[in-house]
Subunit: 394 residues, 2 copies
């Protein structure tokens, strides 16, 4: 069968294979990309759900408009304004079925085959694949401690003809945990303005800061409608309900509405009502504060274990938020061999290959997740990794 | 801003404008495309939902696998086998976020720009737009009383080089209400086999038969994996939960899984558990029978009113199921003038333009829906249309 050209670059990510391994009994998994379900407001949602079924079930189970449930859209607009100083008169907010769908629709309405998208290297597999699945050529730019190498971005913008967008996860980046500084955010926006390319700002982890001061999203100083902001409730309320949103200038918004109409018509209204009611009745900021506390402990537990059992045998980032720590093995240690040895000891993590925008021949990186394992599992798992590293280093 | 080529053919459908009009007080609307929310099993869903929140909320609110909740997938496979004699060893079933998403993903993995898709004329706007949004060229083939003109399909297959698929809604077609005969289903399958093109069989209305005998889907005699079958619970359980499925041969299935991974990751697991539990605990066939009875009365009410108040002033189909009646005005009556006159009298319907695969200069058709208005509204509305027709005919 002859498939479409656009899908040829997309391969099933190796993460899925690793995840199958993590279902085996006794495996300690640092491989997850998900928030802890222990943080979901299960009781509050249960209460609201009961009321929806009692009083407005027919509405919640019927078709609805593509743009999203207006009261929820309004709340998101207000929240983003207050929390992130974000959203101008020319901006509109579209409810999507998870942030991933926001990236998908952006690519669908904006990317022609062969267009270039600049991204961080490493970057989020799902984001890169969304662009690639419409024929984009991804150019990865290495991350520095304070975010993407802006000089390199400028060089690409000067030399490449078909750059359409810059895809960034500025805050607690996946997989690196790195946060782009305020200075670099301004520089990158200035570059986008000068070269008139769009920035796609993916911010799933923005609420999960455990230390340090918030930095405003790039969208906060977008005076020209050049930034398409993608947000989600996946990391704060529920990942499985698939509720995200896109903030984009009006024209791009209306193109994305068309894309959504022919893709899934609308995001289930039941979950939109559920979240709208949740935001009306409960203190979302207090909830966020609770989950920051929950994750801070886990993040600290992993950093402490890394310091104790691994030390300078491996480099690792010290994220101020998010769900991930990014590790770099010494050159002498082969990533595949290390991954296999860890799996023998029933420890799982995600090797870095899938996150690389370009060639992956010499990858020495791996991603550790701390949101799902218990603190005991974190200590046991990291200790074991330390032992393996010691053995392999000899 | 320079958008992607592929979206240029997609325009916001005029149906959406009409729907805005229908929200005005006092308007009788025959414009809907939705099932009646009165038929949704609200109480049963409410009971199950309560239990999900009490005992497995964390699972229901967390990420899940792209392919779909395995127990639900199994139930759909069993049901399709028993009910429609459908599904071979090489087939796999994928859960999608509404049948629309099944069409979208099929087009994404299979259509290159310029490929031809043959469809019925008229056909479902959402289906045609999904194909067009990946650059397909739609060729519409007129419907006869027993379905698509098979000879014309054969002629196109002989003369067009790049035909990739035939898109069909064989049972209670939207918008025409026409059902393809068993004979034509076999003929069209033989043609697909001979020319090795795929058939996309969209069957949202298959359970809504009010009269006559069931006819097996084309997928029932697909021995070669040439038919991609798209089904949904939207017309039987809930449209707003967006729960559909695709049955396709393994290789195409796995490509569509990739497309889904980069689009919305997975369909909300909460609704998949909800429907799985519903199918376990309740008698789905009895539910279907009830809703057939509910719609049969409305369909009959509309046909009776048409016979009484319109008669031979306008042609109309007599569907044996589904949600729509398709009407053809006499050549002398201008569709736009008729639509405007109806709107002045607070009656809404969908003029046929959007359903036409090709040029729409001389459209005289319109679609009437009977699932949403009450029987009183049906009688009042059709009577008014009769009066307008009489006036305009003078």
């Amino acid at each position: 069968m002859e498939y479409a050209e656009r899908m040829k670059e997309i391969k099933s990510s190796s993460i899925r294979e690793i995840l199958k391994f993590t279902f085996q009994p006794g495996v300690i998994s640092f491989a997850a990309g998900s928030p802890s379900p222990l943080t979901f407001p299960v009781e509050e949602f249960g209460e609201i759900s009961k009321e929806i079924f009692a009083s407005r079930a027919q509405e919640a189970l019927q078709y609805n408009i593509t743009e999203g449930y207006p009261p929820l859209v309004d709340k998101i607009v207000q929240y983003n304004k207050k929390r992130f100083d974000m959203g101008r008169d020319f901006d509109r907010t579209l409810i999507v079925t998870g942030a991933q769908q926001g990236l998908d629709f952006f690519a669908k309405v904006f990317i022609n085959e062969g267009d270039v998208v600049i991204c961080e290297n490493p970057s989020f597999v799902g984001g890169m694949n969304a662009f690639k699945s419409y024929g984009a050529r991804m150019i990865g730019v290495d991350l520095e401690e304070d975010g993407i190498d802006v000089n390199r971005v400028e060089e690409i913008l000067r030399t490449e003809k078909k750059v359409k967008a810059i895809y960034l996860i500025p805050t607690f980046q996946n997989p690196s945990g790195i946060t782009m500084s305020a200075k670099k955010r301004k520089e990158i926006y200035a570059l986008a303005k000068k070269h008139q390319v769009l920035i796609v700002e993916d911010n799933p982890y923005g609420e999960l800061r455990y230390r340090g001061e918030d930095i405003l999203p790039i969208k906060a100083f977008d005076e020209e409608g050049l930034v398409v902001y993608v947000g989600t409730f996946s990391k704060t309320l529920s990942a499985g309900m698939r509720l995200g949103f896109v903030v984009a200038q009006e024209e791009l918004f209306s193109k994305m509405v068309l894309a959504k109409q022919v893709s899934d018509v609308h995001t289930p209204i039941y979950f939109q009502i559920l979240v709208d009611e949740y935001l009306s009745r409960y203190d979302y900021s207090a909830h966020i504060k609770n989950l920051q506390g929950f994750y801070a402990e886990k993040c600290d537990a992993m950093l402490t274990s890394l310091d104790t059992y691994i030390g300078d045998r491996m480099q690792y980032t010290r994220p101020e938020g998010g769900l991930f720590i990014w590790c770099t093995l010494p050159d002498a240690i082969d990533l595949d061999a290390f991954t296999r040895r860890a799996m023998q000891e029933k420890i799982a993590f995600v090797p870095g290959y899938d996150f690389m925008a370009g060639s992956t021949d010499t990858c020495h990186e791996l991603r550790l997740n701390f949101s799902i394992p218990t603190e005991e599992q974190i200590e046991t798992g990291i200790k074991t990794l330390g032992t393996i590293l010691k053995e392999m280093n000899q």
